[in-house]
Amino acid sequence: MEQPFLHIEGVSVHFPVKKGLLQRQVAQVKAVENVTLSLKRGEAFGLVGESGCGKTTLARTVLRLVDATEGAIWFDGQNITNLTGTALAPYRKRVAAVFQDPFSSLNPRMTAGAIIAEVLHVRKYAGDINARVIELLGICGLSDRFVDLYPHQMSGGQRQRVGIARALSVEPDLIVCDEAVSALDVSIQAQIINLLEELRVRLNLTYLFIGHDLSIVRHLCDRVAVMYLGRVMETASSEELFDNPQHPYTRALIDAVPNPDPLSEAAREYVGLSGEVPSPLTPPKGCVFHPRCPIAMDQCRTVEPILTTLTADHSAACHAATPLPKDEQ
């Protein structure tokens, strides 16, 4: 089997909850709990789930902005979990991030040109910085007049293009996109999705794409993992996950997305998911999803299901999901 490009192995991230004058630790939030995922080089991998499911924390752990409490992250054959300082620098040159709100992730007092040139300076870019800035803006569909524009002089879509150009300036292999299109207008969202797709092919990029809009994640990503309360509930190829979801939570998420066709929407039988995501401070016993699960059994209330391989590229953490016999795979 091909060596994974990014391998997240049994990663947990726990945050202490401190209280009182002495800041004694009184509890911990298990934001990410024993997550194992692999990304192949050149693929777009989607992480979906509701707020508090740990998708952003996991992404920040990959970016080395948050430290993993347990587990390891391997990137292109190297364990990067505990690297610091100069040892981490080569990794930082190969990984970049695009965030949700370009207005708050771009310095309002710097022009687009200066924002991108800054990264090139820090990275000690050897060539002509100005030419490179214009080239990067061009790749992202912005003309050279944007070099002198400030973020407030641009529309949301243009700002996100600058954000992407900045990410590309380190010539990364992996880009972590955290809700990169969520804040944009519908027509602009489509432009940025198309740009991300085009760049992936052109520059052989690998994406870890965090999103909550399932239709966008399905469209953009080759494989998807569904997270709930810090755990991976199900992971499969996009086709498989959306056509043949095995976890009741995945089914509920897909079911909750309304379709723009009014007649098919009127004909569709839709059963909502009741209840809300429990606090990660006090996760339910057994399967964390059982209080909201329409098919919960006794076993689900006591035993936590582990992520089990169902078919070659489809795993689910659910007692009700059974692996196919080998000869049917």
Partner: protein, 323 residues
Amino acid sequence: MKLLEIENLSIVHNADGVETTLVDDLSYSVSAGETLAIVGESGSGKSLSSLALMGLLSKELKVTSGSVMLGGVDLLTLSDEDMRHRRGRDISMVFQEPMTSLNPVRNVGSQITESIEENLGMSRAAARMRAIDLLREVGVADAEQRMRQYPHHFSGGMRQRVMIAIALAAEPKLIVADEPTTALDVTIQAQILDLMAKVCSDHGTALILITHNLGIVARYAARVNVMYGGRIVETGTAADLYYRPRHHYTQGLLNSVPRLDQSRDEPLRPIMGNPADPFTSIDGCRFHPRCPNAQDKCRSQRPQFDGQTACHFPIAAETLVAS
């Protein structure tokens, strides 16, 4: 019977003597009990026009023409004091972010009872009973205990339920919901919209649902206004707009969204360019710089709204059926 009739509403922004028209000659109506969706991108004027009918425009914004008739009264002619009495009683509003619309330092119960006492003239005890009933109706469990809690004790979805309870408190004839679920998770979004649809149908309340999500339009709205650049560019039933869009902008929006019921490989066909900046003047049709079908006439003459669409060269119904 028409409950709300907006005619020729224009809203102008005035900064240091420079006037910019943000909502241009807007006319539409809402029947009693119906759900009308307003769709549009940032700067389309969809939120502003609704704030205007609530009498909530900020100081630098002025209504320069038009009328907003609700139950035979032009809301635009009312004094601030009279308008204050109408809000809640005749029209109420649910905003996107319930945390910023609830008072963080007062318990939830007092915020609901206040609205009931004020609008229905009930005693405190009776108002409290009604508030508890309302909370139960919008699906807040342990309503009596929850009355004593503060907004930060509630999750985003629960806060939005509280906002709906407050909006319903005085049995208004119309609720305006401005992106009520945009800040919520998908499963909660479905819960809240189903709840809104249910309470509006139970109480016979009309609903103006402002959204950017075409799926929400399809599931919850009977009629839709599509707004662009401060004007309505197309109106129709949800099915008409989906199956037979006339305006190129409506068509462009439909082509821009990835869908779960289509092949993954179906390419997105975004609308080119950026949403019209309200502060930049555009001659002719405001959509022409982004329109795939723009002609000379579109660049010079503003198209008139013909009751269905505002386009010089609307998409012919036949060509669409064929495609």
